[in-house]
Structures are given as structure tokens and as C-alpha cells.
């Protein structure tokens, strides 16, 4: 779950990471009032898309009138498909240098990794490898001062900035670990006459750890259908085509989409209903798909932890209670497949054992419809 900048900064403050003085506002009048208190301000759209600055979602003002005008403009604009409900109005900090600092997960090393560059700012993606220092941290040891000094040596940083890093980096590491962040990115980390200040905050919290953070608001950036799928704990992505696809497992679902395309069809969605779903959840997944009005339904099940009889049971139940009008191509093999196929046969539904046959049949059904 991505956090809005202002939420990220609120959490930073709790961990002692310096942030600019600011106010969260919900309308242009509040923005003017904030500007009256803070004098020179920066006004930042609170949307979850990157490149806000380049798109015009960040602006400066030196009077309440100007702040009001700019706030009105930013509230009315669309950024990456989102409009802002809130703006962050902050005192303008005097930036001597823009630094990049992030903590994220290095999957290959199985460790958190510190990323630091002295070339922070708008185009940090283009910073050459050798000017971006990567330091994986063993979690049993944690981020120690010697590591920060070593990072500083690689950066060519000493003196007062090294002292600042020694204070700041362990706080960011602590934040990253305790808040179950997947990403804690500060760009720019501003070097000001008063030391380092987090001028931005890009924080992503691990969805799987949200249960440990009941105090965090739940932020959504999805379509209504995707939200519904999330409620049901399904992995669902809307696509543009006509064949609704339901499979168990992300890999096989992707391979099914690939094969649909290979045979000349176009998938309407990606729906992975996961492993080990019961009849109830499988039925809900089916009902969700049927609600999208696809032309053909393709179900591809290779049961492992998912049991074929459970899927078959769910399908025949939904068929009986809700009716399934559209043509269906069903593939069913794996754990309890004999039981599953028996249930389908009893309901008069034909099923395939091969994925190829089921997918090409689905495309044939689409072409015939």
C-alpha cells in the first residue's frame, strides 16, 4: 500500500526524521491560511503518482493570494488519472544539495538495502550505477554506524554531512523495519543550512503486514471491480478483451493469457483465485467474473492445494443458483480430479484435461459467438 506524502512524513516525524513544517489542506482557502502562517511555501498535490513536479502538481507561492490561486489550479488538475483531495502546504526549505536516500528489499540478497546518491532530485533514474551506493544490511546485525561511515567513504562524504548521515540513516532503517515498509524513499533528501530534511516521502507498506498496523488508514487506488476482488482476496486485473479467464496461481494464469493470445483471442482479465480456495470463495470469484459480462468464460484448473472437486462444486452451484448463459471452456486436472470431473459430468458439463485444447476451444467459442 502506497502512502500519501503527508502520511509518510507524519510517520517520519514520529521516528525523528526531520521534515519541513507543513499543513495538510482540503481547499484553497485553507491553503491561503497556511501560506499566511508559513510565508514562502511550496504546495504539493497529494496523489500517489510519481513525476508530480514535472506534471505541474507542485508549485511555489509567496503570498496567501498566490497560494490560493495555485491551490485552486492544483485541485482541478488530473495527475496520472488521479485528482487530489488534499494538498500539502509546506514552508519552502533552502536547499543547498539534493540527496537521494532509500531503503528497500533486495530479493536476491534476502536483505534490506540502503540506496544513497549525492545526485538526488528529479532524474535520479538516470544516475550512473557507480554514483548510486547500494549497501545490503543483515537484519540480525542492523544498520550500524560503521556501515554509514563506509557508505560515506564511498560517497566521498565527510565532516558535518557524515555526522548528519550517522544520525539520520539508522532512523530511516528503524522506520523501514518497524513499519513493515517495502520502500522508504526520500528524494530529495535536502541538505539545508539546518541539516538534512526529508523534502519528500515515498513510502510503500507491505500489504501482507497491514494486520500489524491497524492505525494506518487503508488507501485504495483501484477500479471498483478490482476493489471487490481485493475484498475477496483475489488477484484480479482488468484487461481489454472478450475471454474471461479464471485460473489458480499467478504463473499459470499468465501462461493462460499468453496462450489465449497465441490462439488469436484476447483476454478480458487476469483472475488468479489463489491456492486452496473453498467452495464459497471459488463461487464468489466466478460470480465476480460473470458480472463483467464477458463473451466466453475460460476456466483453467491444475489442482495442487486447490481441489478439483471444490472448483467443480462451486461451478455447478453458481450455475444452478445464478445461471451461466455464456459459453464455457473448462479444463480440470490435478488433486481430486476424478471427483471433480464426476461432479461436472453429473451436471452435464464437458471438461478438458489439456490446457491447449481448453484455450483453443475458448477462442473457437469466441469466434462462433
Amino acid at each position: 500500500m502506497k502512502l500519501y506524502e503527508y502520511l509518510g512524513k507524519e510517520l517520519f516525524e514520529r521516528y525523528g526524521i526531520p521534515v519541513p513544517v507543513g499543513r495538510v489542506v482540503e481547499n484553497a482557502d485553507q491553503a491561503a491560511k497556511a501560506a499566511a502562517e508559513l510565508n514562502e511555501v511550496v504546495i504539493k498535490s497529494q496523489v500517489l503518482t510519481g513525476k508530480r513536479g514535472k506534471a505541474g502538481g507542485i508549485s511555489f507561492a509567496s503570498s496567501p493570494e498566490e497560494a490560493k490561486k495555485e491551490a485552486e489550479r492544483i485541485f482541478s488538475m488530473e495527475l496520472g488519472g488521479f485528482t487530489a483531495d488534499k494538498l500539502l502546504v509546506e514552508e519552502k526549505v533552502q536547499i543547498e544539495k539534493e540527496i537521494y536516500l532509500a531503503l528497500t528489499v533486495d530479493g536476491a540478497a534476502q536483505r534490506p538495502v540502503v540506496l544513497v546518491s549525492l545526485d538526488g532530485g528529479m532524474d535520479v533514474e538516470d544516475v550512473p550505477e557507480e554514483r548510486m551506493i547500494r549497501w545490503p544490511v543483515d537484519v540480525t546485525v542492523g544498520l550500524q554506524s560503521f556501515m554509514v561511515r563506509e557508505i560515506c567513504r564511498k560517497l566521498g562524504v565527510e565532516g558535518s554531512l557524515q555526522k548528519e548521515f550517522l544520525k539520520l540513516m539508522p532512523k530511516v532503517y528503524k522506520f523501514f523495519r518497524e513499519m513493515d515498509a517495502e520502500l522508504a524513499e526520500i528524494n530529495p533528501l535536502a541538505l539545508t543550512p539546518n541539516g538534512l530534511v526529508a523534502a519528500d516521502a515515498k513510502v510503500t507498506i507491505d500489504d501482507d503486514a497491514l494486520f500489524r498496523h491497524p492505525q494506518l488508514p487503508r488507501i485504495k487506488e483501484k477500479t471498483a471491480l478490482e476493489l471487490k476482488a481485493e475484498e475477496l482476496d483475489l488477484a484480479y486485473v482488468e484487461l481489454e478483451g472478450d475471454i474471461a479467464v479464471m485460473a489458480n496461481g499467478a504463473g499459470i494464469t499468465m501462461a493462460t493469457l499468453d496462450m489465449v493470445q497465441h490462439y488469436g483471442g484476447s483476454p478480458a482479465n487476469f483472475l488468479d483465485f489463489g491456492g486452496g480456495a473453498n467452495v464459497e470463495k471459488t463461487s464468489q470469484a466466478l460470480e465476480l467474473l460473470l458480472g463483467t459480462n464477458p463473451k466466453v468464460l475460460l476456466i483453467n484448473i491444475f489442482g495442487g492445494i486447490t481441489r478439483c472437486d471444490v472448483v467443480a462444486e462451486a461451478f455447478s452451484r453458481v450455475r444452478e443458483t445464478k445461471g451461466i448463459e455464456l459459453p464455457v471452456s473448462f479444463r480440470l486436472v490435478g488433486t481430486n480430479e476424478t471427483e471433480g470431473r464426476a461432479i461436472l459430468e453429473k451436471a452435464g458439463i464437458k471438461s478438458f484435461t489439456s490446457m491447449d485444447e481448453a484455450v483453443s476451444h475458448a477462442v473457437d467459442l469466441l469466434n462462433a459467438s
Binding site: 528489499v105 530479493g107 536476491a108 534476502q110 536483505r111 534490506p112 533514474e125 543483515d138 537484519v139 540480525t140 523495519r177 513493515d180 517495502e182 507491505d206 501482507d208 503486514a209 494486520f211 500489524r212 488477484a235 486485473v237 484487461l239 485460473a247 489458480n248 496461481g249 499467478a250 504463473g251 499459470i252 494464469t253 499468465m254 501462461a255 493469457l257 499468453d258 496462450m259 489465449v260 493470445q261 497465441h262 483476454p267 487476469f270 488468479d272 489463489g274 491456492g275 486452496g276 491444475f302 489442482g303 495442487g304 492445494i305 486447490t306 486436472v333 490435478g334 488433486t335 480430479e337 489439456s354 490446457m355 491447449d356
Partner: protein, 291 residues
């Protein structure tokens, strides 16, 4: 021979009294796995499928020490259970659950590194040395002995590929599911190294998907250190960029980890890439007949 596990491997099931734990204990026993005990705190003294249940891993070890443990406990409690298994000396730990928090996974991996233990998963189907021992949740009937090693990031897609091999009378030595999460214990390279050194494995099938750079790293290893043929299948050719397709692994970001970059890297390393799952067996047969 096979890798990691064999018919002597003694297996413990953590979370054995749950729905999945008990069902798959039965399935593993039916496959021939030596399941010697189960653990469910508060349920000690019961038995599941004839397997004795203990309250703790240490209590189980007092009766008979296990070599491996498979976890079916819910994700929020997985870290505690995994650290318990490692503390009790388990050397092969199979983490079935999905949704284990990333920070927990990193804690588990750090401890496993210190103990020289192998962690498979999380979010995996486990591993099976065909005809000898299955520590996982895959359907039994497809895993028959033969000369092919299989390593996969995704679960069901791996069954699909192994199913095609089996239908074509090509069996497997060991099949390993790496797991779909961002932090997992084993990577392609670890398993490729084992297969390269396993005299029974004649060729390796690698099942990958878009996102991350694991396939590119595998390609570099194949290029530098593999003498055995490698056949690959990759999912996600049709996936639109920037969409998360199901699990943490399957996402394309910033132009890295694309389908094209992976196919290119593997092909350049000398691996054969199948464009459909059904085409894997023919490539495998050609590779082992050519040897």
C-alpha cells in the same frame, strides 16, 4: 540420487491439525514421504493420519529428530514457527504459506543463513524427489522418476509443465518450487548448481515468469557454469506493463524484467526457450537424446 531430499528424509509437519496440514499429510504419506511427526501447539497427544502430534518442535525432536519441516501455519505466525524449526536444528524448511510479511521473511532467511539451513519458499508448492519423497502440496500422480530436474518460480504452471513431461514419458529427478514472493530462500542459481552436480539429472527445465531479474541471473550462471542442457518456459508474454499479476514476482517495472529481456538472456546463454508449455517435452527429448 536427486537433490536436497530422498527416501530417507524424515519430515515434520508444522500446523498438521489444520485443514491443509492434515489433508497434505495424507497426500505426502500416500506418496511415500517419511512423515515422522506433526506440531500444533495445544494439540499434542493427538494423531493425524496415524502421525503423532506434538506441542513444540523440540518436543517432537525428543522422540525422533527430523531433517526437514513443512509449514502450514497461517502467515502471521509463520515467522515464529520457522524460527522454532531452525532453532531445533531443522536443515530443510519448506514454507508453504503465502502472505508472509517481507520483514518476517528476511528475519527467517537471516537465521537460516547462520544455521546453514535451506529454506524453500515462502509461497511455494515445496519440492519433490520423484518416487522417493515429496515435501509439498503438489498433486502426486505427475511426479514420476526420470532424468529431468525442474525448478520453477510459480506453482501451478510448474505442474502444467511437469504434466506435459509425464504425458510424454519423461520423468523427473527433483522438482523444486522457489516460491512467488520477493524474498525467498532458494534462487534459480542455487538449484541449477545442485542439478549440475547431480549425476542422475541429465537436463534441467526452468520455469520462470516476468518481473525481477532472477531469470537473467540464471542465464549468466548457465552461460558460465552449466554443462547440462537447460530448457526454459516463461509466462507473462501478454502481460501489460506496470500491472501486478497476482504475486510479488510477477510485475514489470521500469523496463526491467520484461519477457523479451529474459528470453534474450536465456537464449544467449544457450538455453532453449519454449513458446508454449506443450512444446517443452520435445525440446527436452531433443536435448537428452543429443547427449
Amino acid at each position: 540420487m536427486a537433490i536436497y531430499i530422498n527416501d530417507k528424509t524424515r519430515v515434520l509437519v508444522q500446523g498438521i491439525t489444520g485443514n491443509q496440514g492434515s489433508f497434505h499429510t495424507g497426500q505426502m504419506l500416500a506418496y511415500g514421504t517419511r512423515v515422522i511427526g506433526g506440531v500444533s501447539p495445544g494439540k499434542g497427544g493427538q494423531s493425524v493420519e496415524g502421525v503423532p502430534v506434538y506441542n513444540t518442535v523440540f518436543e517432537a525432536a525428543e522422540k525422533e529428530a527430523a531433517d526437514a519441516s513443512i509449514l502450514f501455519v497461517p502467515a502471521p505466525f509463520a515467522k515464529d514457527a520457522a524460527l522454532e524449526a531452525l532453532a531445533a536444528g531443522i536443515k530443510i524448511l519448506v514454507l508453504i504459506p503465502e502472505h508472509i510479511p517481507l520483514q518476517d521473511a528476511m528475519d527467517i532467511m537471516a537465521q537460516a543463513r547462520q544455521n546453514n539451513a535451506v529454506v524453500v519458499g515462502p509461497n511455494t508448492f515445496g519440492l519433490v524427489s520423484s518416487g522417493a519423497s515429496k515435501i509439498g502440496i503438489m498433486p502426486n500422480q505427475y511426479f514420476v522418476p526420470g532424468p529431468i530436474g525442474v525448478v520453477s518460480r510459480s506453482g501451478t504452471l510448474c505442474y502444467e509443465i511437469v504434466g506435459h513431461l509425464t504425458d510424454n514419458d519423461v520423468g523427473t529427478t527433483t522438482v523444486v518450487g522457489l516460491g512467488g514472493d520477493r524474498v525467498v530462500g532458494l534462487h534459480f542459481i542455487d538449484v541449477l548448481k545442485e542439478f549440475e552436480n547431480d549425476p542422475e539429472t541429465k537436463a534441467v527445465v526452468l520455469v520462470g515468469e516476468i518481473g525481477g531479474s532472477a531469470e537473467e541471473e540464471a542465464a549468466a550462471f548457465i552461460d558460465s557454469s552449466m554443462t547440462k542442457p537447460v530448457i526454459a518456459y516463461l509466462a507473462g508474454k501478454s502481460a501489460p506493463p506496470g500491472k501486478r499479476m497476482g504475486h510479488a514476482g510477477a510485475i514489470i517495472e521500469r523496463g526491467r524484467g520484461t519477457f523479451e529481456s529474459k528470453v534474450e538472456a536465456l537464449t544467449a546463454a544457450g538455453a532453449k526457450v519454449a513458446d508454449l508449455p506443450t512444446k517443452v517435452p520435445a525440446l527436452v527429448k531433443a536435448a537428452i537424446d543429443g547427449n
